[in-house]
């Protein structure tokens, strides 16, 4: 899943601001700027179920990461001190803005029906299966939860990385412990660690504070997630051709708009506000 949406929406002084507090690792800063790692705060995270299709669908992460690095370096050079628009970010008063701007991600796109469906499936399965104790039911609930995260990440343009897959496989393996063992303390530790690993998979942190808070960071996404879901459900899912609030303004789009059977010409205005 490429970083293009998130890179494009970031203000130009952001890479410059990120550079100063972390001098020892400039390439890591550029990469971390676009480090999508999925966090999975849900009841379980078995992203491998969704991870394998993503793996085969994205064959060349290396080339894309090189392109990303070049873009980030170009953005950094653009933000060198001395250039006119760098002054605002370099001023001490702007430090706090820089901090929260560094932390806050770009807002997610409108929720897709696949995501809503997986979320609903997770809720149903957890109501049905989780009420009597722990066992295989955690793994059963993990599947739609990870599918929901996978579809959402795909819609936002994020890509599966080796570390993401590692965290996801680890989380899945840890959920096997309550299915195998009856003892209380190891089971509790394993479930908590599975949550932490899923959270790390979704956030993709690399530094000490990143890893520590990234393991807990799902609690930060609960309220925004609920708001996002309610808003998406009220608007109607963003599927082209469906009536409802138009998710995009009429513009030059290729030929998959439903009202036309031939490739649409750029000058042609659509009759219905669907695309």
């Amino acid at each position: 899943m490429s970083d293009q949406p998130s890179e494009a929406s970031r203000p130009p002084e952001r890479p410059g601001g990120a550079d100063t507090p972390r001098p020892p690792e400039p390439p890591a800063a550029a990469e971390a700027a676009g480090t999508p790692a999925a966090n999975e705060p849900g009841p379980s995270e078995a992203r491998t179920a969704g991870a394998t299709p993503a793996d085969t669908a994205r064959p060349s992460p290396a080339q894309a990461s090189d392109g990303r690095r070049q873009r980030a370096q170009a953005a950094q050079q653009a933000g060198q001190p001395g250039s006119p628009w760098q002054h605002g970010a370099g001023a001490p008063a702007a430090k706090d803005d820089g901090m929260t701007a560094r932390l806050r991600p770009p807002p997610p796109p409108l929720i897709r029906p696949a995501v809503l469906g997986s979320v609903l499936a997770t809720a149903l399965l957890s109501a049905l299966f989780l009420s009597d104790g722990l066992g295989v039911n955690l793994l059963i609930v993990a599947v739609p939860a990870s599918l929901a995260a996978f579809f959402a990440a795909q819609a936002a343009g994020r890509r599966l990385r080796p570390w993401t897959a590692t965290w996801a496989v680890g989380g899945l393996a840890l959920l096997a412990v309550p299915a195998l063992r009856d003892a209380g303390w190891p089971t509790f530790l394993a479930v908590v660690s599975a949550f932490a690993l899923g959270s790390l998979a979704l956030h993709g942190s690399r530094s000490w504070p990143g890893v520590l808070i990234g393991s807990l960071g799902l609690f930060d996404s609960v309220v925004p997630g609920i708001i996002w879901g309610v808003r998406g459900y009220a608007h109607g899912p963003a599927v082209p051709g469906r009536t409802g609030a138009p998710p995009c303004a009429p513009r030059r789009w290729p030929s998959y708009c439903w009202w036309s059977s031939e490739p649409s010409s750029p000058a042609r205005t659509p009759r219905s506000p669907n695309c």
């Binding site: 990120a18 991600p105 979320v119 195998l180 063992r181 009856d182 956030h203 530094s207 609960v222």
Partner: protein
């Protein structure tokens, strides 16, 4: 759904299978299930939102510590290194036969001397890790000379701490051999082992660069938890205690402790001879055979225990269990001790 009901009505055995697979939907559990539904919804939405737009926690930076001067930084650490070296040298001297002197001085028997001290060494390991973290934070950062100084002081410290970890684990091993394995002992031994792994990771970070260190430590913690769960600690505890009993190393097994283990311990406890076996398995049998948890909420350990206990149930009513296993060396308490048991 349609086909399921058609098949279910056509064949009674299939209907039976379906009803045993599906969770029962009783109205009485309504509020609980609604709560679970809401939790599942919120959790999945949070996961999806974090997947689509994760907060970049990496942006949180800790202000780097003020680097100290070389002598100011290195001197306390060198003293610490010498202290560790002296401790370990003493251990080696005793190990290779200086034991009689130790007995003259401290009055402890060989076995007692070899066993004690695990907790103190555990604390020493933890404090050393803290010292290493602080030392790295305040390390002089001038250039290559400074980097070499840091490595040459902290490297030996890590290695010496690893030797201390090994010594602590050996002491716990001897203690457990004598007094039996318990949940506390296996947990702290696992903790000490993990601290040793963290020290090795720090050493590797000193050689290869610290970029992967946070994630490597997280991976090691997760792997540790996974291994701890998979080795079935309750099963190991029961196994070790039963083995000590069978080998005659202890006069009797501590039934009071062992009967409180979980269902993972049943295969090992099954091997006990009769009065001990029934006394040990009594409570576990009540839990396993009479709780009617559905298939999706039962772990494999529980299922295996149920199978064993259905084939060979507990005999008797447990009224004479008070006499069995009473003289065991429970948690390391021996009546002729001065009562000092650190565990």
């Amino acid at each position: 759904m349609v086909f399921g009901t058609l098949f279910a009505s056509a064949d009674a055995a299939f209907a039976e299978l379906l009803s045993s697979l599906m969770p029962e939907a009783s109205v009485g559990a309504g509020p609980w299930r609604t709560l679970l539904f809401a939790l599942g919804l919120a959790g999945a939405l949070a996961a999806a939102h974090a997947a689509a737009a994760p907060v970049r926690w990496d942006g949180l930076t800790v202000r780097p510590g003020k680097p100290r001067g070389r002598a100011e930084w290195a001197l306390p650490l060198i003293v610490l290194n010498l202290l560790f070296a002296a401790f370990i040298t003493l251990q080696l001297v005793v190990l290779f036969g200086g034991y009689d002197k130790v007995r003259d001085v401290t009055g402890l028997s060989h076995a007692e001397y070899a066993r004690q001290g695990f907790w103190q060494l555990l604390w020493a390991t933890l404090l050393t890790l803290l010292v290493i973290a602080l030392a790295l934070r305040w390390a002089p950062r001038g250039g290559t000379g400074d980097r070499t100084l840091v490595r040459s002081v902290l490297g030996p410290l890590c290695v010496l701490t690893l030797v201390v970890v090994a010594s602590a684990l050996r002491r716990m091993d001897l203690y457990v051999d004598e007094y039996g394995l318990t949940r506390l002992r296996i947990s702290v031994a696992a903790m000490e082992l993990w601290l040793g792994v963290v020290l090795i990771l720090i050493l590797a970070a000193g050689v290869f660069g610290a970029r992967f260190l946070p994630r490597a430590v997280a991976v090691s913690a997760a792997a540790g938890v996974l291994a701890f769960g998979l080795i079935s600690p309750d099963g190991l505890i029961a196994e070790q205690n039963v083995q000590r009993f069978e080998d005659g190393r202890s006069t009797s097994i501590d039934i009071d402790y062992v009967k409180d283990l979980s269902a993972d311990a049943v295969p090992a406890l099954d091997r006990l001879p009769e009065p001990e076996r029934s006394c040990a398995l009594r409570f576990i049998q009540n839990d396993v055979l009479h709780d009617d948890t559905p298939w999706y909420a039962t772990s494999w350990g529980e299922a295996r225990a149920k199978e064993i206990l259905e084939k060979r149930p507990v005999k008797g009513d447990g009224s004479d269990c008070y006499r069995v296993g009473r003289e065991g060396t429970g948690d390391g308490y021996e009546p002729d001790d001065d009562g000092y048991d650190p565990y």
